[in-house]
Symmetry: C4
Subunit: 239 residues, 4 copies
C-alpha cells in the first residue's frame, strides 16, 4: 500500500489547516457531550499519505493546535508535539488495516465500558443505530493499554470491517469515512448504549433487524446533522 | 374540507409574524429541555387555511425565521425555505386527518423511543399525564422515515383521535390545540416516560384510572404553566 | 388558637421584608436544584399571627415580590397578589393543624411522585434522612388538586405530626420550623428518594433504624449547611 | 513518630501557600464535579510535620483561604479558622496511622453511600479502578459522626492499608500520596460506583482480576490526567 502513497505535507502546511481545525473541534465536541473525560483521542488520516494526525498527551477537551502530532502508520514521528500518545497503535493499526477509514476515535465512554463487561449486547433499537449490524459491535478482550503494534493489530482484527469495537474494561474505538462521521457515530453509540441499558431493564426490547436497518441505510436522503448540531452546541457554550 | 378554507397569507405577512415567533420558541424549548437533539420538528396550522408552517432541514435548537417553510396539506410549497423537511407528511397527514389539531411535534425523544420497543406501556401515574388515556399512547410500528403520504396516513391512523402516538425505533408525534399545548404535552410526555421507567423497576405502579384522570380533566382551573415556565428558562440561559 | 394571636402586619411592612426575601430565595432554590418545575409553592407563617405568605400562580423559579400573597388560615385574602394559588388549603390547613410548623413546601418532586405510587417505601439510608422516621413518610391517597379545606384537612391528617407526606400521583408536602429547614428537608427528601431508588435495585438496603437515627438526632452540633450551600449555588449561577 | 518530626510552619507562611491553594482547588473540584454537596472535606499533611490543614465548617465548594485550619494529629489547634471541623478525627487518625498518606478526602458521595448499605460490592470493572483491589473497598459500619479519636481510630482500622473505605449511611474516606492523587481517586471512585450500579443491573459484570489490575499498575507510563483535567473544567466554569 505504502508505495502508491505520496509523502505527507508538513503538519504546519496550509493544506492541513482545515483538517487540523476539524480534528480539534471533534475532540472538543466529545468532551462537551460528555463522551470523553480526561482521556481519549480522535485521529484523522492525512489524505493520500500513510500518515495520521492525533492529539498528544492532553485531554480531548483541552487540545489546541500545538498539541497535535503527525505520525506515519508505523508510529514514526512526522511533526508537531514531541511525545506520541501512549496508545498511538490504536490509530495506526486500524488505519493501516482499513484503507476505507479516514478517521478513528478512541474513548472511555461509560456506555461502551458497561457493555464491554456484560453478557448482554448493545444493539440498534433506534434508527440512530443504522450504522451498526443487528447483533451489535464485537468486544476486544485484551487487557492493558494498547501501546504496542501487536496489541493494535489485535484490536484492528477484533474490529474487522465493522464501524465499532468495544474494548473490555476500557471503552471503544469507532471508525468512519470522515471526522464528521466518526463524531456522529461516537456520540450515537453512547446514546444507543444508554437507551439499550434503559430498555433492557423492562424486558426484551424489539431491536431493529438487518432488513429493517437496510431500509434506513438505503434512504440516501437521511439527514446527517450530528456534526452541525454538536458544533452549534459548542459555540453556544463559548458565547 | 379544503373548499371551506381561505388561501393562506404569505409566509412573510405580518399576520403570521407572531405565530412564526411562537413556533421558533417552541423548537428552541424542545432543544433546551433535551427532548430533541439535532432532529425533530414542530409545525403549526395556518389559521383558517389548509396550510402549515414548519422547519426545513435544521436542528430545532438552531432554527431561525429564514429556515421556516409553508406548505399546503398535500405538501405543495407555499413559501419560505426552499427544501421541505424529509418528514413533512407527519405534519400534513395528521393536520388533514385531525381538524381539531392546530400544532404537531415530532421528536426522537429518548423516553418515547424506549417505550416504543418494549412490551410495557407508558401510562399516566402523575396528573401531568391527564391528557393521556389510562392505557397510554399507541405505537406506530412502521419502519423507515415518514416521507410519503402513505406512511403519513398510516401514522395518522395509528394516532387516531388521541394526543400522542409513539413511533417504533424512532420517537413520537404529539398533537394539540395550540403550539403551547403541544409543548406542554411533549415535555410532559418525556417526563412521564422517565417516571414510568423509574417506577416500573420497583413493582407495579399504581396508575391513574380513567375515572381519576377525569377528576383532573374536569378541573378547569388547573393551571397550564408549562409554556410560560419553559420560555423563562430559555431566557435565563440566554442572559 | 386564633384568639391568642395578634393581627398580621401589612404584607408590605418592613417587619415582613426579610421573611419575604427568604421565601423568594427558597422558591428559587427549589427551582434551581430541580426539585420543582413550573409548579409548587413554599409558604411561611407570619410570626405570631394566624396568617401565612405564599406565591400566587407563578412558577417558583420565577417568583418576584409582587407575586406574593398573604392569607389567613381560613384562606381569606390579607394582601398582595390578587388571586390565591389554587392549592392554598395545603398551606392553610397544615399551618392550622400544626402550630409547631413555621413553613411548608409543596412540590411535584419526581422522587416523591414515584414512591407515592409504589408498594416500596422511601426510608432513611443516609444520615441526611435523620428527620424522617425509620419507616419513612406516609402517602396521602386523595385524587384531585387540594383546593378545598376538606381536602386540605385530609392532607394534614395524613401528615400527622411528621415532617413529610407524599401525595399520590402528585408529589409531596414538607414542613419545618423555619424556611431554611423546609428547604433543607425538601432537597434532602428528593436526594434520599433518588438514593432509595438506586439502592433498591440491588437488593435490600440496610436502612437506618430508629435507634440509629436517634444517635444522629441527639448530636446537636450536626451542621445544617443546606441553606447556606444552596444560596451560594444560586448566586454562582447569577454571576 | 512525632519525635522525628519538625514543628509545622505557621499557616500563613509562604512555605504553605502553594499547598493551601491546591487544597482549595481540590475542594472546589469535588463540588464542581458533584461528588460533594454542602458537606465533606479534604485535608493535606504539612510536609515533615505531625500536622494537617483542612477546611473548617464550610461547604467544600465555598472554601476560601480564611476558612482553612491547621491542627496537629491529636486535634490541637495550630492556626487559621477558630473552630475545627466536627469530623477532624477522620483526617487526624488516618494521617497518624498511615505515614504513607499525604492527603485524605471525606465525602458524602452518592455512589459510596449506596454501596455502603448494600450486599453487593463496588469493584473495579474499568482500568480507572486500578487503585482498588479486585474485591473492592471495605465498609466502616460505625453510626454517628466521626467526632472522637476513638471513632477516628476505628475508621482508620477499617481502612487498613487500602486506598478507600466506604462509610455506612454516610459516604467514604479516600487517601493518597498527594492532593492530586486523592482527587483522581475520589472522582474515579464515584465514577466506578455509577458504572458498577449500571452494569450490575444486567447480570454479573466481568470484573478485573488482581492479575489484570497488576498489568495496569505496572504500566508506569499510564497518564494521570485527572487533576489537570478537572482544574481546566473549573476554570472554564469561572470564565
Amino acid at each position: 500500500m505504502s508505495q502508491s502513497q505520496t509523502p505527507a505535507p508538513a503538519l504546519d502546511s496550509t493544506k492541513l489547516k482545515e483538517l487540523k481545525e476539524k480534528l480539534i473541534t471533534a475532540c472538543h465536541i466529545l468532551d462537551h457531550e460528555g463522551v470523553t473525560d480526561g482521556y481519549g483521542h480522535v485521529s484523522v488520516r492525512v489524505p493520500g499519505a500513510d500518515a495520521f494526525i492525533t492529539i498528544a498527551n492532553v485531554s480531548p477537551g483541552n487540545v489546541t493546535s500545538d498539541r497535535l502530532i503527525m505520525q506515519d502508520l508505523d508510529g514514526n514521528y512526522l511533526g508537531g508535539a514531541k511525545t506520541p500518545p501512549n496508545e498511538w497503535p490504536i490509530h495506526a493499526c486500524i488505519l493501516k488495516a482499513r484503507p476505507d477509514v479516514m478517521a478513528v476515535s478512541h474513548t472511555h465512554s461509560k456506555w461502551s465500558t458497561i457493555f464491554s463487561v456484560l453478557p448482554v449486547k448493545l444493539k440498534p433499537m433506534h434508527h440512530y443505530g443504522k450504522f451498526l449490524s443487528a447483533d451489535g459491535p464485537p468486544v476486544y478482550q485484551g487487557i492493558g493499554l494498547v501501546r504496542t503494534v501487536e496489541r493494535g493489530n489485535d484490536l484492528a482484527k477484533a474490529l474487522g470491517d465493522g464501524p465499532v469495537v468495544l474494548m473490555r474494561a476500557h471503552g471503544d474505538a469507532v471508525v468512519g469515512a470522515s471526522v464528521e462521521q466518526v463524531i456522529e457515530r461516537t456520540t450515537r453509540l453512547a446514546m444507543l448504549g444508554e437507551w439499550n441499558h434503559l430498555a433492557l431493564l423492562h424486558g426484551q426490547p424489539r431491536y431493529l433487524t438487518d432488513e429493517e436497518l437496510k431500509v434506513y441505510n438505503e434512504d440516501q436522503r437521511f439527514p446527517m446533522r450530528g456534526w452541525e448540531y454538536y458544533v452549534s452546541r459548542l459555540k453556544k457554550r463559548m458565547e
